[in-house]
């Protein structure tokens, strides 16, 4: 055996003998540090992923300056905090100026070289930035459509009949807007851009519709720099535009909304820290307090109170030595897993996320919280241990549990339940710490759940009906050749194809079966209808049998009907699908006219040649498109549409592609469609939405899952600790005649006292904080009224209940397996 050189060498020896008790404290420290490191790390990675995405979506610039002179721009570019400043301009952005390349409209952009290389991310896919006035970067879509390569010459036709020729210096990546609108674009250098720009009013950059994009060095105080630039050059707010998203992610935004977000983030971080502190404090408190006798014995042998305090501190840090590195490792593993998931889900945006990313701030936060809390939490039990008199230690009385001040109330409850509740409340400090940590789990869950509401408002996820490609009639008429539909249907790259025939602005009149407003009994409609009620009642009274308005009649086929079923408010979609001359109304509270049509109404359509009737047999709450202004939307089957209008062809054909569909496949599809109809490629747009949605969901649901898991482990651990602390007492009670069932009841009562008190406190504070966070994150921006988070509360209380069941099972099983004698001596 190794010789002890210092009394503190006792620490590892004590750690060995108290392995079981220490294990629980180590688990607590582990969970707390893991919670802090993982949540902060996830937040860090989330911000990094969003920075990556924001740079790709909006460019890596921080402010844009309008209406400034070249000289001022030059002066600003020489400021030490400015990394890049680039002139950027565009025209024919609305595609209404008549510039074309080949057969399509062309968007013309021009900038300094550093805009393409420094401010835009991966803009040039091949080749280089134009070095002369007669060179141009061309979009990838034009490259594939026109079969271009570097060095080729392209001709841009101006509306005045002139032609501008450019040699291709390179190709530039497509943007979502370009593919969606199915147009081309070229990128020139500033000189080239100014040469083609039509009729500039003057010589200043603003006359060329140009602005200056400013990129600061990453770690500068951007707010201060912006304020100084504004002041030095007397710039108004209107002249300085901020990249709110990017500045916001760097914590440098001045926007009110970002300030609200920062406030909410600060509140949530504080809660996470507090939860960590409480978890560690409660575990150390019961660990050290349960061993006061040992410290009393040491006092007996001759240790001074100061030495005892040092010993307890050293012991606490000994626990940290194992728990903290382990939790940081696990948190990092979790982060790597999440980043790997993100890279797989959306490689286009998050391919740049590190494989083994280390979040230094979260690790520092984890270590600091772990060490500082352990130090603070160990202080009070250490002092308590130091105060134990040697005499009480020798007589063994120090090992007794906390002194009881008041007898348990056994007159209202059964003895087992009464004792269980009393055990929970025996030590006020322990009760506060344990219920506090339970309550904080609930508070954390309820507060973080608002981030899901935030996500739902900030991002509209892709609907099942979102198409990758669409063919649209240029005349908005039913004129797309059915042969095209059949050809597309046979294409291997098309996974799903569905078309719609649309008759816009059809005059209609409504016949109501009952003159009086029908009691639909549907609360949803009633509530939305409230504001229109008076107007509607007036109408009903004045014109009891018919009303005149317009509608957009749209045909659905089977797939679209199946999607619509999810939004059915009333009636039957099957009737609309199968019964001839039936239709489904889309409920839109914003159109007063629309609300006039109700279930059971008969709508008469007035087409050019004839009148036809359609009966409304269903109401849906949502459809993928907006109605023409002032019109209602009526959806019917293709058979009904044909019978009513006589039209046979589609107005819109939507396609969803297979996962493996390539650019060649899309080109082939384009060739099938030809140029008669408008073509829209929404894949980039969809990828963008999906990328944002994935990153938000992964981290936000990750937060919630982590909090729920920590709640489960914390409750299991706390229960385990409180049972171990009373093992001896349970043995004695069993000896006197307490049955196993009664013991179970006692432990259940004890745990439920913690959980119930924690849940009540947690629910009250959690709901209040939920409201505060909601008002900052959601209501401020989107003006949505706060509603009590009943579902979230039920969910977390369910987790608590489930944890209690799990938590009680193990110690009860253990006691059941042990003989009473062993329990007394445990």
């Amino acid at each position: 055996m190794k010789t002890m050189k210092h009394y503190l060498a006792l620490v590892p020896i004590l750690a060995k003998t108290h392995k079981k008790q220490n294990r629980m404290s180590v688990i607590c420290i582990f969970l707390a540090v893991f919670l802090v490191t993982a949540i902060f790390g996830m937040a860090d990675m989330f911000i990094r992923s969003q920075v990556l995405k924001a740079k790709m979506d909006y460019g890596n610039w921080h402010v844009q300056l309008k209406y400034i002179s070249e000289e001022d721009a030059h002066l600003i570019s020489t400021r030490p905090e400015v990394k890049n400043l680039a002139c950027y301009g565009t025209f024919n952005y609305r595609l209404d100026m008549g510039y074309t390349l080949g057969d399509r409209d062309v968007l013309i952009c021009g900038s300094d070289e550093n805009y393409a290389t420094e401010i835009e991310i991966d803009m040039i896919s091949e080749g280089s930035f134009p070095q002369s006035e007669t060179e141009a970067l061309v979009g990838e879509n034009a490259r594939s459509a026109l079969g271009l390569s570097i060095g080729d010459t392209i001709s841009v036709n101006a509306p005045d009949g002139t032609t501008h020729q450019y040699a291709i210096s390179g190709f530039s990546k497509n943007s979502a807007m370009i593919t969606k609108k199915d147009v081309y674009y070229i990128f020139l250098n500033t000189e080239g851009f100014r040469a083609i720009f039509p009729n500039p009013a003057g010589n200043d950059p603003a006359s060329y519709n140009s602005i200056f994009m400013v990129q600061f060095h990453e770690y500068t105080n951007m707010r201060k720099a912006i304020a100084e630039i504004k002041e030095s050059f007397s710039l108004s707010d209107g002249q300085v535009g901020e990249n709110t998203m990017l500045l916001g992610l760097y914590g440098q935004s001045g926007s009110d909304f970002m300030m609200m977000i920062y406030g909410a983030a600060l509140l949530l971080s504080m809660l996470v820290l507090l939860a960590g502190i409480l978890m560690i404090a409660s575990s150390l408190n019961s660990n050290v307090a349960g061993r006061t006798n040992d410290f009393g014995m040491l006092r007996c042998i001759g240790a001074t109170p100061k030495q005892i305090i040092r010993l307890v501190h050293r012991e606490a840090f000994f626990l940290c030595r194992r728990a903290i590195p382990l939790s940081i490792l696990c948190a990092s593993l979790l982060l790597w897993l999440l980043c790997a998931l993100l890279r797989t889900l959306s490689p286009q945006y998050f391919g740049g996320m590190p494989v083994f990313g280390i979040s230094i701030p979260s690790i520092i936060a984890g270590i600091l919280i772990g060490m500082a809390t352990v130090f603070l939490a160990a202080r009070s039990p250490a002092r308590k241990a130091a105060r134990v008199s040697p005499l009480t230690a020798v007589t063994g009385r120090a090992s007794e549990l906390a002194p009881v001040r008041k007898a348990a109330n056994t007159s209202f409850m059964k003895i087992d339940t009464a004792l269980g509740i009393h055990h929970a409340k025996a030590s006020r400090k322990n009760f506060l710490l344990v219920t506090g940590s339970f309550a904080l789990s609930i508070i954390l869950f309820l507060s973080f759940s608002v981030t899901i509401d935030f996500m739902k408002q900030a991002i509209t996820p892709l609907s099942p009906w979102t198409p990758d490609l669409s063919v649209i009639s240029t005349e908005y008429a039913c004129d797309i050749d059915n042969e095209i539909f059949r050809s597309l249907q046979e294409n291997q790259a098309v996974e799903r194809i569905y078309g719609r025939m649309v008759a816009y602005n059809l005059p209609i009149s409504i016949e109501r079966k009952e003159a009086k407003k029908k009691e639909t009994g549907n609360k949803e409609i009633e509530s939305i209808n409230t504001e229109n009620k008076d107007a509607e009642n007036n109408r009903t009274e004045s014109n009891e049998t018919s009303k005149h308005m317009t509608c957009d009649l749209i045909s659905y086929e089977e797939t679209q009907f199946s999607w619509a079923k999810k939004y059915l408010v009333e009636g039957s979609i099957d009737d609309v699908m199968k019964k001839p001359n039936t239709g489904c109304i889309v409920f839109a509270p914003s159109y007063e006219q629309n609300t006039a049509i109700q279930l059971g109404d008969t709508v008469t359509l007035h087409t050019n040649e004839k009148e036809a009737e359609i009966e409304i047999t269903a109401i849906v709450s949502k459809c993928p498109f907006a109605a023409s202004v002032g019109s209602a939307i009526i959806i019917c089957s293709e058979e009904t549409f044909r019978a009513l209008t006589g039209e046979e062809r589609y107005t819109i054909i939507d396609m969803q592609l297979t996962k493996n569909a390539s650019e060649q496949d899309v080109t082939a599809i384009r060739d099938i469609i030809g140029t008669t109809y408008a073509f829209s490629d929404k894949r980039l747009d969809n990828d963008n939405v999906l990328g944002t949605y994935y990153s938000y969901s992964l981290f936000l649901y990750g937060f919630l899952l982590l909090i729920a898991l920590i709640t489960i482990f914390n409750i299991i651990n706390c229960t385990g600790m409180s049972v171990s602390a009373r093992m001896k007492q349970y043995g004695a009670l069993r000896a006197i005649g307490l049955s196993h069932k009664q013991l179970s009841k006692m432990i259940v009562a004890q745990t439920c006292t913690y959980a119930l008190t924690g849940s009540i406190i947690g629910a009250i504070i959690g709901i209040i904080l939920n409201r505060i966070v909601f008002e900052r994150l959601v209501a401020f921006r989107w003006g949505i009224a706060w509603e009590a988070p009943i579902a979230e509360l039920a969910m977390i209380l369910g987790v608590v209940a489930f944890s209690i069941i799990l938590a009680i099972r193990a110690p009860l099983h253990k006691i059941h397996e042990m003989s009473i004698v062993d329990t007394i001596h445990a």
């Binding site: 007794e400 007898a407 348990a408 025996a426 004695a732 006197i736 307490l738 049955s739 196993h740």
Partner: protein, 237 residues
């Protein structure tokens, strides 16, 4: 009337090299109202014997019958209920419930049975034990002797057929030891209860009707008190 019957009792701990025979082929019986002492050196198996009789521990082999009922043929729950109704325990370290006052501690076995304690019976026990004045005190407000008297009251409240006392005076001074012993004897006589008491104190052992000596797991019936004193003295205890 035979209250306790122990037949061919064995208790073994561990296996192989670490095997320890704590009790070896123990057989004896106790009649109603008998007050017996168990003596023996530390580690001889006294407490193991008491724990097995009290169904706190299960024997490796053999049979224990209390009032005609085989303890180890019962199911765990049944055995617990049987124990709290028929066996009273008095421990060296009292094992009172810190959260309950004197009266509640005494009534505890009845409360476990979800019975309403008979106030007269409780008052009688409090009087007998001299605890009437302290009935609302918590254990930490009592002296060692008073705490052990509460433990005694708890053992007596259900009028059990058998009281098992494991060194009940081990933590008490001689005056309190004598008081507790006198109370035990008084109860045994008054309620016709059988008492089996482990003790290291020869003086206390001499008060017993019968004495058992345990040595290396073997129990020897030493018979009446006068014989035992001489035998104990011969062993130097």
């Amino acid at each position: 009337m035979e209250i306790l019957k122990v037949q061919n009792l064995y208790k073994t701990y561990g296996t192989g090299d670490t095997k320890v025979d704590a009790l070896r082929n123990v057989s004896f019986s106790l009649e109603k109202g008998e007050f017996c002492a168990v003596v023996g050196e530390s580690g001889s198996g006294k407490s193991t014997l008491l724990n097995c009789i009290g169904a706190l521990d299960s024997p490796s082999a053999g049979q224990i019958t209390i009032a005609g009922q085989d303890l180890f043929k019962m199911k765990e729950e049944e055995r617990t209920i049987f124990r709290r109704r028929n066996i009273g325990f008095v421990f060296q370290s009292f094992h009172l419930i810190a959260e309950l006052n004197v009266e509640q501690n005494i009534c505890f076995p009845l409360l476990l049975d979800y019975q309403k304690p008979d106030t007269n019976a409780v008052s009688e026990i409090l009087d007998v034990l001299g605890l009437r004045e302290r009935r609302h005190h918590l254990p930490n407000q009592l002296s060692g002797g008073q705490q052990q008297r509460v433990a005694l009251g708890r053992a007596l409240i259900t009028r059990p057929k058998l009281i098992l006392a494991d060194e009940p005076t081990g933590n008490l001074d001689s005056k309190n030891s004598q008081d507790v012993l006198e109370l035990l004897i008084k109860a045994s006589r008054h309620y016709q209860q059988t008492i089996l008491m482990i003790t290291h104190n020869n003086g206390l052992a001499t008060s017993a009707d019968r004495i058992f000596r345990v040595n290396d797991g073997i129990v020897t019936d030493l018979g009446g008190k006068f014989e035992s004193i001489s035998l104990c003295a011969g062993k130097g205890e």
